[in-house]
Amino acid sequence: MTDHPARKQDQAKLLVALQDLDHMIRDAEDAKTAAKMQEMGFTMDGIAEIKKARVELTEHIKPQLLNRYQRVSQNYERIVVPVVKDLCTGCFAKVATSFRYEKTAVVTCESCGRILYFT
């Protein structure tokens, strides 16, 4: 990872990667999903590996953003959500157009507080 201050897009991407990993861990630990996967023939015994990858990933995320992620996760299952047609896809509130061009901060929905990801 780079030493220079992470740009906003990089940090937002890291939060997306973190959420993807959390979904994967949850699926692997969910008995029903794991049973379905096993039935298809897939093994998922490397859970320790991806938990390690999660720790490594969080080391690159600014602590205040990580805190924000944890905080939002207490209220919602989907923490980072994509903005589609200027709408937060978590709560469907309108997102200010200027947010898309915000260069320094990772932005959250003013209505529901979820972290926004611009695709």
């Binding site: 991407k13 994967m24 298809m40 897939f42 990858a53 980072v80 896809t89």
Partner: protein, 156 residues
Amino acid sequence: MMTSQELASYFRESLCIFDLKATTKREALAEMVEAVCAEYEIKDRGLILEMLLNRESLGSTAIGKGVAFPHGRTLAVRDLSIAFARSARGVDFDSTDKKPTHAVFLIIAPPQDRDNLYLQVLGRIVDLIKDDASRERVQAASNYAELKSIIEGQGL
């Protein structure tokens, strides 16, 4: 229950590669993700690749007989996307039976996708491939029309 036609409708011609250049798992995934990102105009290909590689560390998706099913969910994609690749030479996909992989089905879905659709599609493809005759035909398919007719369950 999804019909074979519905399943086949997820296979786009531009996402079916019949002469995969890759020889390693990472290269194969990168080549296929590249195709998906070009087709769906996705900018964060790195996120998709990272998710797929993490899924592989959870357990190889090359579950034998020359076929791999890399899959997972990521916010980087908007819709359920499938890509197919065939390699005559074979890819070292870290297969459970240690044999080279000749056919790869890539299935990626957004997290908000209902579990059902994503797992249903994966399950259907795995079922199709468990059938020896279908699997051999898939591994020998040389064009999109051929592949599609196998998925649709024609000529079996």
